[in-house]
């Protein structure tokens, strides 16, 4: 976990770290990764990963509309919207 890695993962996470904070967070991340590295020593050959405690596949259901259309309510709570869309800064010049 070096400065370059932190720069990469903070970009992947769409977060910006500045000066002092970057140093502290880099250090914290180093310690956390070192802490979880103890998993390396566990023998896990032939062990299937457990992704979910239920281990059940998601059930399918009939493709019927069950929820109300909340379009107006959802657009209303958006930081910026018009009658039909969420608005963001111009993407294509």
């Amino acid at each position: 976990m070096d400065k370059k890695t932190v720069t990469t993962i903070s970009y992947l996470s769409r977060l910006k770290l500045d000066g002092e904070k970057e140093e502290k967070i880099t250090n914290d991340l180093k310690n956390i990764i070192q802490f979880v590295n103890q998993l390396e020593e566990v023998n896990t050959s032939d062990i299937e990963p457990l992704t979910n405690p239920l281990e059940k596949t998601a059930k399918t259901r009939d493709d019927k509309v069950t929820a109300n259309n909340l379009k107006e309510e959802l657009l209303e709570i958006a930081p910026s919207s018009n009658e039909d869309y969420f608005l963001v800064p111009r993407v294509v010049e």
Partner: protein, 470 residues
């Protein structure tokens, strides 16, 4: 009293708001729901309801979406978010005619064990003003412990119901993963998150759990299993029932007084007729490092939805879309949330996925297998809930790992998806502490039975910061 008309629903609700104001220094609430609550109470006075929770004031953790009522999840990024719908858990509780008094303070996005990561400030523990209430459901625990409300909702990803219950001297249960719908709960780690009740007694928790559980088509991980009446078996005899005592639990980091409280509880259970059986959970010590790969990975993915486009806070005057995302997230998230997102992005990134994420999922299976084996031989497993009673604010310093170890005993139940409860079982320097009871898959009734029988013999659950509550 309400049914005898000695006091009206409205008077009860007004008293709750008086108590909230009187205890405002606890900072247990982020948003109050006063007008609607008084209206609902009046409606119940005019048209009495025979629903199980009729008129009962309940504080809701600010992680559940509540229609028309601000829901912040303890974060700046959601400080203006008013959901257009309610979580299934909230609907279930409100359909039983409870009154949702307000939204309780919590660690930001439920990431913390002391309530010190909330954007809305620390919550104080009613047992001592400098003491943390635990977290992340710290506001809920504090409000119940202070006697402001009889019950509250909480959520538990690694101990967020049980640890604050222990530190505040109340009872709280995390059900089996899938028992309670996660729809409308703001997601932190989807394979670990589960909602549950927090109250003074096991009996009250059972009553709330009856209403909170449901099969929900809107949550694909919601279990389609029979839901028993959780109040039915509370009084079953414990004669000959088996309690697993983890022999490879590292208790060396606990101080003697914590051990003594724990051992006294086990003795109490023996006097109730239960048998103690040594069990082994050899991979238990790996639960914290496993959790700190799995939970951040899921969090980094879940929290990518907070981008300032569709809801919540947006940064001002971004020059382009990229800057809108980055600035919004950088300004909106606190340090602990950022740390976990970064760890998650790291362990999921190309080249590291197998070494960390896959490895942790494999160890997660080993932890679950240990429990499967143990439960072939015992009814419940008991451990202390926490390593000690409530600690002082700021005392864990700036090393995040010290805080992560706070959940040493609670995390494994989340990794394995098992139900687990904390109930008050002693006091150290006038600070409460809890006992953890872990049950097998879907065996909430069993742990509630063990918990309730303990509360018929002891009165730790009746102690309040002011003394014994009669």
């Amino acid at each position: 009293m309400i049914s005898e008309k000695e006091i009206s629903n409205k008077e009860v609700v007004q008293e709750v708001y008086r108590l909230i104001n009187e205890n405002s220094h606890l900072n247990a609430f982020v948003t109050l729901n006063e007008e609607s609550s008084i209206k609902k109470a009046q409606d119940l006075d005019n048209n009495p309801s025979d629903c199980s929770l009729a008129g009962i004031p309940i504080a809701q953790k600010d992680l559940f979406c509540t229609k028309g009522l601000r829901t912040t999840c303890g974060s700046k990024i959601l400080d203006n978010f008013v959901p257009p719908y309610s979580a299934t858990v909230i609907e279930n509780l409100e359909n039983a005619d409870c009154i949702s008094i307000g939204k309780t303070n919590m660690d930001e996005f439920a990431m913390g064990s002391s309530n010190e990561t909330s954007y809305f400030g620390n919550v104080h523990n009613p047992w001592g003003d400098k003491l943390v209430p635990g977290g992340s459901s710290g506001g809920s625990a504090s409000a119940v412990a202070a006697g402001i409300v009889p019950a509250a909702s909480g959520t538990d990803t690694g101990g967020s119901i049980r640890q604050p219950a222990s530190l505040c001297g109340i009872t709280g249960i995390k059900p089996t993963y899938g028992r309670v719908s996660r729809w409308g709960m703001i997601a932190f780690a989807s394979s670990l998150d589960q909602a549950g009740p927090m109250a003074r007694t096991v009996e009250d928790c059972a009553m709330l759990l009856n209403e909170m559980c449901s099969h929900d088509n809107k949550d694909t991980t919601s279990l389609d299993e029979d839901i028993p009446n959780f109040e039915e078996n509370l009084n079953q005899s414990l004669n000959g029932r088996k309690i697993g005592v983890v022999k490879d639990l590292d208790l060396s980091s606990l101080d003697n007084s914590v051990l003594k409280v724990y051992e006294n509880s086990l003795k109490e259970y023996v006097s109730l007729g239960a048998e103690l059986v040594d069990i082994s959970l050899p991979n238990l010590s790996l639960s914290v490092p496993t959790y700190y790969v799995v939970a951040p990975a899921e969090c980094s993915s879940n929290l990518s939805r907070f981008d300032g486009v569709k809801f919540g806070r947006r940064s001002e005057n971004p020059k382009d879309l990229e800057e809108l995302y980055i600035q919004t997230r950088t300004e909106g998230f606190g340090d602990e949330v950022k740390r976990r997102i970064l760890i998650g992005s790291y362990v999921l990134s190309a080249g590291y996925y197998d070494a960390y994420y896959k490895k942790a999922q494999q160890v997660r299976r080993l932890i679950k297998k240990d429990f499967d084996e143990a439960f072939s031989n015992v009814d419940v497993i008991m451990t202390p809930t926490t390593r000690g009673p409530a600690f002082e604010m700021g005392s864990k310093g700036s090393d995040p790992i010290q805080m992560y170890l706070e959940d040493l005993f609670t995390i494994s139940a989340n990794l394995a998806g098992l139900p687990a409860m904390s109930l008050p079982n002693g006091s150290i320097d006038n600070k409460p502490i809890g006992l953890q009871i872990i049950g097998n898959f879907l065996k909430e009734s069993t742990i509630l039975n063990f918990g309730h029988m303990y509360q018929t013999k002891t009165n730790w659950h009746m102690y309040t910061p002011e003394g014994l509550k009669q």
